[in-house]
């Protein structure tokens, strides 16, 4: 009797000690995402479960999309391999919790950058990889030509999004009534809209183009001209790890700088011999700009080699080379009339 009691006590004490030490080490790990990623051998990337052009597995199960490419760029910079990424599909309402708790290292899931998401949720946006705005899609046969004619309409939306909030704001500020039908995933929201439960479906304009492809008769639906919000979409990371924040941020900027400097997947090795100092610094032929990030000198070279520059990624996933055929618009480079502007590598 006594022996078992002692044994029990000892095991409890051991369990407590283990719990306490693991808790302590969990605290210590907060700051070192890069080392964790390296020892684990892959990046955990929170992804959209299925948004064409941004994050979606293709028919062979390979993930593709603009957001997916960003995670692949980070993977290429660290591992010299774009496939050391584990994509974790997340619904809109679960995504931030997954990032906060450390289940994922980076969230690249067309998330809108807002003040409260940084200040209250403890996250940081590393940049904007897609400038977007919220729009509405309706059936052509409703004969609605403006969102202002939607008073009294039923509107399907994905819950846990800025979309849900902008919708409330827009209808309130225009003194219109509406009925919101909120679903956990965009897939269900679109299905409900398609089955006639709602008069309109609302999400970011890029999402509208992507989701329209899922409808039974895509041609019977039209996107209304109003864009009712600013939706700066971009990847986010946890606060408290500046090195990791910088890596994700500069993976995007490397792709932008490559496009601006005319460096593509195809002419990469040619450009390595370029006399242009900016190109040489970017590709690691001059200086060692990767070291301070905890990476190798050829970090940006690897990104372009495996993923391509921003323009290539855009074109392949959402632009002319894709089914979405979205124009560059605001997402063109700053010197071509858009807003994409990357700080220089130097």
């Amino acid at each position: 009797m006594k022996i078992t009691r002692t044994a029990l006590l000892a095991s409890v004490a051991a369990a407590i000690l283990t719990a306490a030490t693991s808790a302590a080490s969990a605290q210590a790990q907060v700051a070192r995402t890069l080392e964790q990623v390296k020892s684990r051998g892959f990046i955990s990337c929170g992804s959209n479960p299925g948004l064409a052009g941004f994050g979606m597995p293709d028919d062979k199960g390979t993930w593709a999309g603009l957001d997916v490419d960003l995670c692949r760029a980070v993977s290429a910079a660290i591992f010299n391999d774009p496939n050391k990424v584990k994509f974790i599909p997340l619904t809109a309402k679960d995504r931030f919790t997954a990032l906060q708790t450390g289940e994922i290292d980076v969230l690249a899931r067309n998330g809108t950058w807002t003040q409260s998401r940084e200040a209250e949720l403890g996250l940081l946006w590393t940049g904007i990889n897609y400038y977007d705005g919220q729009g509405f899609m309706v059936r052509k046969k409703l004969n609605v030509s403006s969102a202002l004619e939607l008073s009294g309409a039923s509107i399907c939306v994905q819950q846990g999004t800025t979309t849900e909030l902008n919708l409330a704001d827009y209808f309130r500020s225009n003194n219109m009534k509406y009925e919101v039908v909120a679903f956990a995933t965009s897939n269900e929201a679109v299905k409900a809209y398609d089955s006639g439960r709602c008069d309109a479906y609302t999400t970011d304009a890029s999402g509208l183009y992507a989701e329209r492809l899922k409808l039974v008769n895509a041609d019977e639906h039209v996107v209304l001209p109003e864009v009712i919000s600013k939706e700066p979409l971009g990847p986010s990371v946890r606060q408290g790890d500046d090195q990791w924040f910088n890596i994700v941020k500069w993976a995007h900027y490397a792709m932008l700088n490559a496009e601006e400097l005319g460096v593509t997947k195809a002419n990469l090795d040619e450009k390595l011999k370029s006399p242009n100092p900016e190109v040489r610094r970017l590709l690691g032929a001059e200086g060692d700009f990767g070291k301070a990030l905890g990476l190798t000198p050829d970090w940006a070279y690897r990104i372009v080699q495996h993923v391509g520059n921003y323009g290539e990624s855009f074109n392949r996933n959402v632009g002319e080379g894709s089914r979405l055929k979205i124009k560059r618009g605001l997402n063109n480079l700053w010197n071509k009339g858009g807003l994409q502007f990357a700080p220089p590598v130097r």
Binding site: R5, L9, V12, A13, I16, A19, A20, A23, A26, Q27, V30, A92, K93, D94, F96, T97, Q100, T101, S116, R117, A119, E120, L121, G122, L123, L150, S151, G152, A153, S154, C156, Q159, G160, T161, E164, L165, L167, A168, D169, R172, Y178, E179, V180, V181, A182, F183, A184, E188, A189, A192, S195, G196, R197, D199, R238, Q239, G240
Partner: protein
Amino acid sequence: MSDASQVQPPRTPFLRAETLRAAAWQALMLALIGWLAWSAFDNAVENMRARGVPTDFSFWNRPSGFDINQTLVQYSSSGSTYGRAFVVGLLNTLLVAAFGVLFATVLGFAIGVARLSGNWIVARLATIYVEVIRNTPLLLQLLFWYNAVLKPLPGPRQSLALPAGAWVNNRGLFLPEPMFGPGAEWALAALGAGIAGTIALRLWSARRRAATGVGAPVLWPSLALVIGLPLLVFALAGAPLTWSFPELRGFNFQGGVRVFPEFVALLLGLSLYTAAFIAEIVRAGIVSVSRGQTEAASALGLTRGLSLRLVVVPQAMRVIVPPLTNQYLNLTKNSSLAVFIGYPDLVQVFAGTVLNQTGAAVQVISITMAVYLALSLLTSAAMNLFNRRFALQER
């Protein structure tokens, strides 16, 4: 001899006394568990602070900014708080759970009895129902019902007219809403008085039956009290009732009472699913009453109906009620699958949108868990009280 019997066992020193040691071990154990719980809590709070995640409940009184379609209480995106959204979600959960329990019980009893029917077809159909429903996932059934409810219904402009000014379309069922004028409260009071009178009448009748062997007629006076009296008072008050009929205005019907398709689909799915389990419980309960009981009842000259009511069912209920409680709890907890078909229940509104917007994951999930725990404990307590009526009376 006498000496030996009076020898006292040696007095145990205080520190080695069995009771003290036992208590000390217990206290130590408790302290360790307490410390473990506290350090887990402290560690969580510490880590949440380090990550900039909110650790308090201050979000409760902040404006919510999002809308909900089905609200049983006043709610708007502009003026309501997250706390109010919680109340809306909770009430929606309670609404679907209450109706679900009611429908599942009625349907479950009917099917349970049907499985024992002498009619081959009825019994087989009931068996097929139970086997099909019990052996497919509930989520799949919910999605099926949602589409089965939505798909065949027309849009608002081609709505189907139902009798008495009601309409149905793929936005829901629109019923005329009774609008009571002044004086209606007297009819309500009369209804209350009628119900109280009926209860008193029944008690008095039972007492008289126990004393004299002859009860008083109960059924007709009860109906007169519960239905006749309020109607009479209502007519005397000048029938202060108007109906608000739903009308097609703009995109949809306005006015009247609206039953949302999400609610119907969820209710249908939960009721049908749980009814299959209840049917099996009812069947088991009835089978558990031995045949001798029925035979004895008919030997006493009880009719078939009376022997069922007085002999079989009370004994079957002993077996039925405890597992029935489980099914009620399951139904309530399963209602959280509402999130997949867009019904704004507690999980969808509070553990979904509110959690996402505030980032207070630990707080929101704790509250949600506490709510389901409280609901389950309350249901259990109520069912235990109910069970006492049927349990064996041990004297």
